[in-house]
């Protein structure tokens, strides 16, 4: 999604060598142009499909394509081999023009076994390319996937372009003299497949070669085996009398800049580090491992020299508790979790609200309720973020729209937390967390300033005096002579912070904190309208990871002359001050979200607008076709 409509045509010059010999040899066969291709890799969760997908993504990004990815894997690390429950998928859309989604349905399905085929075939376009590992279609594997007859021979796949390749046998041949066990040789199948697809779509392969060299540096025999498999797959495509031509997807019209490929969890981690550096304070993450948020903990644990403290706590509550303790001492305290963890942290977040300490809680939302579908995305924690604490405890909420937007949102969350002395909830989700896109790497010097000023003057110091503009209280950290004071969860007197059960004082404090949070709205930029700024027939209002599908759907409908616009929210609490007025410009307001209608309720309550819900609770993102259909019906209705 790095491409913008106004972008100039750019020339791609990769930092690694592009278009090398491998591409050159491929010219022996003709090559057809494609605007974009959607590939889905599917196999057993032990088949290395996520790895293949990520490497193919990197190759495509370096080829200058715009990209969007959708990893889709089971929560079980190794579900029984060959079963539908164990199927792991990775979908990639790579394009020579601007794209906003990983694609509704794949043009190409790569199935490493019958289960991978069975679980994904219904999504493949008729006449779509279907590549299978013929060797994996054994009687036992067919039975495990629920097939009563072999689809490779019973003509049920006749409407697809079926390519049956003996991937297992050819991989074994490529590594036969290396002395590997059958199992080790079998595990090289993914690189054989990656090599084949890299040839088929004319990908620059240097990044994968370098990756294999780095990853297996300490095990030369595995390095050799994977490299040979990768090259064997590539050469098979070129030489075998199977593929008539390869395909080219040219570089996209990409805005000039310095790029890297990034996932949402990575961007979140980097946003926090950048914010802490800007604030001049150490970063402290207190966290308990939970899918799909753990990668933020993993990534931050590698940045100790910044300095970044990562504390893998005994539970979710200790994670947020330790972050609050660190914030009390002057660090940038953050915690990361997913839905179940957000529930557990509620009481501690309330303490941070009451004591007015800066804290960022990242909720990488997943499908619920309860344990739900841990690896699947959903947006059903919005009202928990808004109201999931006892008492009146308002919290600013920010939601990221794309993987790279996670960087900006994490950074902004810290900025607000520190400026207003408040906990902030950052909402992302499983799709953003694992999805990737090209990212124009920001210039650190141009990031918004984050100013930290600790109180130091004992003269007249009181813990709950307030800044006139922001209403934030002073950050007075232990170790400062003369500022010794006590804070806590009990209701406390205005200014002094002494325990107080005065009824009027309690109401005053509740209202002061609410006013402080509401006041953040002053900083929210004017709402952007994609489409008709002065209003028209319908506006689709969304937040979070639905940005891409909504944008694509609105674009498609506008191309057909429909008067449809899009407004997408980053700030969910407080809401943008102009939002009500903006929405009233449209005849109809549709709120599209992956829940039962949570922003919908907020909009109806806040603006008395009879908005229409567009909802999905399947642990999957919206398809563009679903949205165009729903919007079309709403326009007619």
């Amino acid at each position: 999604m790095a491409v913008r409509p106004e972008a100039a045509v750019g020339n791609v010059a990769g930092s690694s060598k592009l278009g090398g010999e491998a591409n050159g040899t491929a010219e022996a066969k003709p090559s057809e142009q494609r605007d974009h291709v959607v590939i889905r890799f599917a196999g057993d969760s032990g088949d290395g499909m996520q790895l293949v997908g990520m490497q193919f993504t990197t190759e495509s990004a370096l080829a200058g394509n715009d990209i969007a990815t959708l990893p889709d894997f089971p929560a079980e690390i190794r579900a029984p081999a060959g079963t539908l429950a164990g199927v792991s998928g990775f979908q990639l859309n790579f394009s020579s023009s601007e794209i906003f989604t990983p694609g509704d349905e794949p043009d190409v399905l790569v199935a490493m076994n019958p289960a991978g085929l069975a679980a994904n075939l219904e999504d493949l376009h008729p006449n779509g390319v279907l590549i299978v590992d013929k060797d994996a279609f054994s009687d036992s594997n067919l039975k495990r996937a629920g097939y009563s007859s072999n689809p490779l021979t019973d003509h049920s796949l006749d409407k697809y372009q079926l390519f049956q390749i003996e991937i297992t046998r050819l991989t074994a041949l490529a590594v036969h003299d290396l002395g590997l066990s059958n199992r080790e040789a079998f595990r090289c199948r993914n690189f054989y497949t990656l090599g084949l697809l890299s040839w088929l779509y004319q990908r620059p392969i240097e990044s994968t070669v370098a990756w294999i060299e780095g990853r297996f540096k300490k095990t030369p025999e595995l390095l050799d085996a994977n490299m040979r498999s990768f090259r064997a797959g590539y050469n098979f495509g070129e030489t075998a009398e199977m593929f008539v031509s390869s395909y080219k997807v040219g570089p996209a019209r990409i805005a000039p800049g310095f790029y890297r490929n990034i996932t949402g969890n990575s961007a979140t981690a980097l946003g926090f580090v950048a914010a802490a550096i800007k604030a001049g304070r150490p970063l402290f993450l207190g966290s308990y491992p939970i899918t799909p948020a753990s990668e933020v903990l993993h990534e931050l644990s590698g940045y100790k020299n910044f300095p970044v403290y990562t504390f893998q706590a005994e539970d979710e509550i200790a994670g947020v508790g330790a972050a609050i303790g660190a914030a009390f001492g002057g660090a940038i305290g953050i915690t990361t979790t997913s839905g179940p963890g957000l529930d557990l942290k509620a009481e501690a977040i309330g303490l941070a609200v009451k004591t007015e300490l800066p804290l960022v809680i990242t909720d990488v939302q997943r499908a619920g309720p309860s344990t739900g579908m841990p690896t699947k995305p959903e947006q059903a924690d919005l009202l928990t973020a808004m109201y999931g604490r006892h008492g009146e405890s308002p919290i600013p909420i920010i939601a990221a729209a794309t993987p790279s937007d996670c960087f900006d949102c994490a950074y902004e969350a810290v900025r607000i937390a520190v400026k207003y002395m408040t906990p902030v909830i950052l909402l992302t989700d499983g799709q953003l967390a694992n999805g990737a896109e090209p990212w124009v790497v920001p210039d650190p010097d141009k990031l918004a300033p984050i100013k930290v000023e600790f109180a130091t003057d004992p003269n007249g110091f009181m813990p709950y005096t307030r800044d006139e503009k922001t209403l934030s209280r002073p950050w007075a950290i232990p170790g400062t002579p003369g500022l010794e004071h006590r804070i806590g969860g009990l209701s406390s007197e205005n200014l002094t912070g002494n325990v107080s059960y005065s009824p009027a004082n309690n109401e005053l404090m509740v209202r002061l904190r609410a006013r402080k949070i509401a006041g953040i709205a002053r900083e929210i930029p004017p709402t952007e309208i994609f489409g008709d700024p002065d209003g028209s027939d319908l506006v689709v209002l969304g937040w979070g990871s639905t940005f891409g599908p909504i944008r694509e759907a609105v674009k498609q409908l506008r191309a057909k002359g429909r008067k449809v616009s899009q407004v997408h929210l980053r700030y969910l609490n407080p809401l943008p001050p102009d939002l009500g007025e903006v929405l009233h410009r449209f005849k109809k307001v549709m709120v599209a979200e992956l829940n039962m209608g949570q922003l919908l309720k907020m909009v109806r309550a806040e603006y008395l607008i009879d908005a229409i819900g567009c909802n999905k609770i399947q642990g999957r993102p919206f398809k563009v076709s679903e949205l165009t259909g729903r919007i079309g019906r709403a326009l007619e209705g």
């Binding site: 750019g10 150490p282 020299n305 509550i317 660090a331 170790g479």
Partner: protein, 332 residues
Amino acid sequence: MATALSRKDFVSDQEVRWCPGCGDYAILAQVQKTMPELGIARENIVFISGIGCSSRFPYYMNTYGFHTIHGRAPALATGLKVTRPDLDVWVVTGDGDALSIGGNHFIHVLRRNVDLKILLFNNRIYGLTKGQYSPTSEVGKITKSTPMGSVDFPFNALSLGLGAHSSFVARSIDVEQKHLGEMLKRAHAHRGSAFIEILQNCNIFNDGAFDDVSDKQIKAEHQLILEHGKPLIFGKNRDKGIRMNGMRPEVVKLGGEFTEKDLVVHDETNFPSAFMLANFEAPMPTPLGVFYAVARPTFDGAMNKQLGDAKTKMGAGDIKALLHRGDTWTVN
């Protein structure tokens, strides 16, 4: 500056609101008296508590203080101490706060050996919620929530602490002011999690729970004062001792068949012995003092060392270099 401080400097301006006669008053007075002797500047001292009667403690100390949420004080204190190793961080908790709702944090902070001083006021009852049994209440306890007697088997706080391999485990009692002061100083001198169970009388809901070790008339027969390198002797006339009969400890009378040479000599570094002493039950005496104290790397020290090592190895963090990592490309 620190050396010139007195007890009064540690008394906050807040009215103390414990019930008259509560053992907490004596503990507060002793902590306030001991603080000036530690030589720490007041601004570098932080008291962190959870919820319960004991957890009101920070409000009464003229230091930095944080009255947090039920059971979670060790977690908050860990985050503070790790990022601010320059601070002297004390955790004040109770038997419900530390051993029931906060049991998880309690054992994990001890196993990690975070450099915190943890004072657990054990009154074997829930006071703030007006008299329900606690995880240290004896089986059969009649309380508001257990009219037919509790059926819960209790925790032994010290045994639990030792089970988590706390590097410092001690016990004192509210009424023994001198002994309590000594234990506070010992805990403060220890590097790592220093856990003191302080037996504390709740005169409203569990009065007399520790009479056998606090009543002046009889306490000498029930208190066993532990001193490193000295034999285990107790009794008004110091005529009783602890000896090992095979693997089992027993009380013996001195002067006849047994002499001091037959007795167990207390060794604070001996884990099995500490575990044995922690589990003494009647008719054995109740030990007070330092059960166990060993040097073990602290969590906060180890973590800060990793940060220092990383900086030495990789240099100070450079945000631009970080953002530019990985496979990158330029579009002109």
